[in-house]
Symmetry: none
Subunit: 127 residues, 2 copies
Amino acid sequence: MLSDRLVKLRKSKKLTQQGLADKLQITRSSLSQYEIGKRQPDYGTLKKIADFFEVTTDYLLDHSNEKSMVQEHKTSYNLTDDPDLQIAFKDASDFSEEARKQAIDFIKYLKEKEKEKGRIHKDKDNN
Amino acid sequence: MLSDRLVKLRKSKKLTQQGLADKLQITRSSLSQYEIGKRQPDYGTLKKIADFFEVTTDYLLDHSNEKSMVQEHKTSYNLTDDPDLQIAFKDASDFSEEARKQAIDFIKYLKEKEKEKGRIHKDKDNN
DNA sequence: TAACTAAGAAATTCTTAGCCC
DNA sequence: GGGCTAAGAATTTCTTAGTTA
């Protein structure tokens, strides 16, 4: 919920409602309503809030969607289209160093195998 | 702008306004207004749209903030700094579907092993 | 001082119907 | 069919002032 996150973010910066309202160029009354969940700011204000606290609007709106995150991740970093592979990569990033090395080595092994396969017959995979 | 992205996303799925409106449970008139930029959907509808197309709300709102993105990725993905893992991942992106699946499965296996290692006690929940 | 609320004003959105291509 | 628009209804938000702790 926007309200919860807003309160936490504001307090993390040790600001009063008035203080934050000034920064966002809205009235403190409006801000109060957002924090209680009685009103919703327009998209412009939402983006202002996100920029001020340096968070995503998804975070503010409590919108978590793994696939969408991967999608965003992909466009930002130019990675693969395979969502499962992206999730696997994400998971591997959290591994211990040992497990990470095992993953890397296994992929190296697969890479060699792919090379072999390429020599034997032409690739017939369709995406 | 939401409007531009909405049109592109809808057409990428080869849907008419009526078709998408039905999926989102809104009238086609409302959807038309969103696509032209005359109206803005409430947050609930915004999230519905994001979920349906599997994108972030930041993408829909054209909200790009490098710091927030990095923040989000670090908190959501704990993206690794390990360059070897990144290279391995890029290699895997070029694999055949079969090899890619093997890599994914192996990482899943490692993930389970990591879980076991993480907890002292032996839980038997299957996930 | 800091935060919340009430109530009328103002702005925005929704609905319905109709229009254009 | 497919997409856009007008106009009144409905809803939401804003503003101002006031209340509470």
